[in-house]
């Protein structure tokens, strides 16, 4: 006699350690297996796009810090690039190099959290996470030296940077760049071929190449599905065309590939930082910019390869001191589009890993 069963609705989140913020998954379960899932978000909506319309162009920079709060430097960079494109403002060479150094350090810091949290979700409870926080701490110390802040840096300005780096920055950065490859090797020794990790993440949560492109995925999620697409290479902004680096890609598009792509990207970022340190010129870090910007009437879309994917700002100017419209193209939001398909058919424990492997920040999804 067949046992009569019925589907069961389980709310995972909004407040749950594995949802990396206030995110809710309304999962419909058949036993332990997910048969349907609806992502529900918006709990962290602060109306940043609307707030930006009430502030001067420089006044928006601190708001951008609060988008992806694990990668505030990258958000600053994307925004100031869009404003510079809109108003046609030049940037001094030294500032360009420092921007690249900061953006790549930020990528390493963000990937450390992404990988650490992913391993946490896999069940390696907090040991790898704290190893990675040890290294992230060194990056945060470097950012504290230059900006005085440890999370929301507000460091970049339209036309350059808020201030030059202090004398002790470069020796400390040099020490970090020499130490870090050893730490990455240490993680790989512990984890890359770990049988439990392989069993949990290989072939799990596959995002096929065609679907990844169709849902506008970007960053490591897109590259893990085998698409060689990195804004730093395909549409070089700032001075990225002067550096040599590779774009790591995956082939299967599963959780393991997304994890590997992030680890390899950290190595590539270190390569870029080393080259930028060697070429860093002396000089000014900010060009002459009026206190109140009045960009000409028009629009501009500036985008960068942020740690989580393509971060873009679409700005419309009406020649006043505030943006007429400021739209933020957030990578985390788009990367979530296929979450339902990736999860269906997997068990709850796998769904947590799949979600963790996408690496989202709710500040950016909800804005």
């Amino acid at each position: 006699m067949a046992l009569k069963t019925e589907p069961f609705v389980l709310n995972i989140g909004p407040v749950h350690p594995s949802t990396h913020g206030v995110f809710r998954m309304r999962a419909i379960l058949d036993g332990e297996v997910i048969v349907d899932m609806e992502p529900i978000f918006g709990y962290l909506h602060r109306g940043i796009e609307k707030l930006a319309e009430e502030r001067t162009y420089t006044g928006v920079i601190p708001l951008t810090d609060r988008l992806d709060y694990l990668a505030a430097m990258s958000n600053n960079l994307a925004y100031v690039l869009a404003v510079e494109k809109l108003a046609g403002i030049p940037v001094p060479e030294r500032a360009e190099y420092l921007r690249v150094i900061m953006a790549e350090l930020q990528r390493i810091a963000s990937h450390l959290i992404a990988v650490g949290a992913f391993l946490n979700d896999c069940g390696a409870f907090f040991t790898p996470f704290l190893y990675m926080f040890r290294e992230r701490e060194k990056i945060v110390d470097l950012f504290e030296m230059v900006s005085g802040q440890r999370l929301l840096y507000n460091y970049m300005r339209v036309g350059g940077l808020s201030q030059d780096i202090p004398n002790e920055f470069l020796p400390a950065l040099d020490k970090f760049v020499r130490q870090m490859p050893g730490f990455i090797d240490e993680y790989d020794q512990l984890l890359a071929k770990n049988e439990i990790l392989l069993a949990r993440s290989k072939g799990v949560g596959i995002l096929p190449r065609e679907l990844a492109i169709n849902i506008s995925a970007s960053g490591p999620v897109l590259r893990a599905s085998g698409v060689k697409w990195d804004i730093r290479k395909v549409d070089p902004y700032s001075i990225y065309d002067r550096f040599e680096f590779d774009i790591p890609t995956g082939s299967a598009g599963d959780c393991y590939d997304r994890y590997r792509v992030r680890v390899e990207e950290m190595r590539q970022s270190l390569r870029i930082i080393k080259q930028a340190m060697g070429q860093l010129p002396p000089g000014e870090v900010k060009s002459q910019v009026p206190h109140l910007l009045h960009p000409p009437v028009g629009e501009a879309y500036g985008h960068i390869e942020a740690p989580k994917g393509e971060l873009g700002f679409y700005l419309v100017s009406d020649n006043s001191i505030a943006p007429y419209r400021c739209h933020i193209r957030a990578p985390s939001l788009m990367n979530l589009t296929a979450l339902r398909e990736m999860m269906i058919g997997w068990k709850i424990a796998d769904a947590i890993i799949i979600f963790g492997s996408i690496d989202i920040t709710m500040g950016e999804v909800d804005r």
Binding site: H45, E49, N214, G312, Y314, V316, L336, A338, D366
Partner: protein
């Protein structure tokens, strides 16, 4: 370097296939009639020399007289991009055709525009608020919302 295609050139190409579908065009972008958007979008996606398989972003801007939806399209194969715009008039129930059937990436973004700007997308499979809570009155990104 991603090549930004000239809106004017693409507009003249599209105009040959679908006469009367283009409102205006300049070097940076082209504005199409909203009722022609589905055919034009599928042509932009399918035509082998254009091949816009990647929808980078959609947004909407409130210009008081009309709402303007802005589509940033990219081709991964050819590494070129294009900005397509379309307009809808009236503030009570502005409607535009949805492009979710072509680019799934539009799913959350169209819902967000519906939520914050109040533009309804016809043909979207799940047109309901995404960010604000159920029963929220008004559309905060409109210029007359204070």
């Amino acid at each position: 370097m991603t090549v930004a295609l000239s809106g004017r050139e693409i507009a003249s190409k599209l105009e040959q296939q679908f006469p009367g579908s283009i409102v205006e065009s300049n070097e940076n972008s082209l504005v199409v009639k909203s009722e022609s958007l589905p055919e034009l979008a599928s042509l932009l996606k399918i035509a082998p020399d254009l091949d816009f398989d990647y929808l980078t972003a959609i947004t909407a801007v409130d210009y008081y007289d009309y709402f303007e939806a802005v589509y940033q399209l990219t081709s991964i194969k050819h590494n070129h991009s294009l900005v397509v715009k379309t307009r809808c008039y009236g503030r009570d129930n502005p409607t535009l055709p949805s492009v979710v059937s072509l680019w799934r990436g539009a799913d959350f973004q169209e819902r967000e525009i519906y939520d914050l700007m109040g533009i309804r997308f016809d043909g979207h499979p799940n047109m309901k608020p995404i960010i604000l809570w159920e029963g929220f009155q008004g559309h905060p990104l409109r210029k007359d919302y204070l």
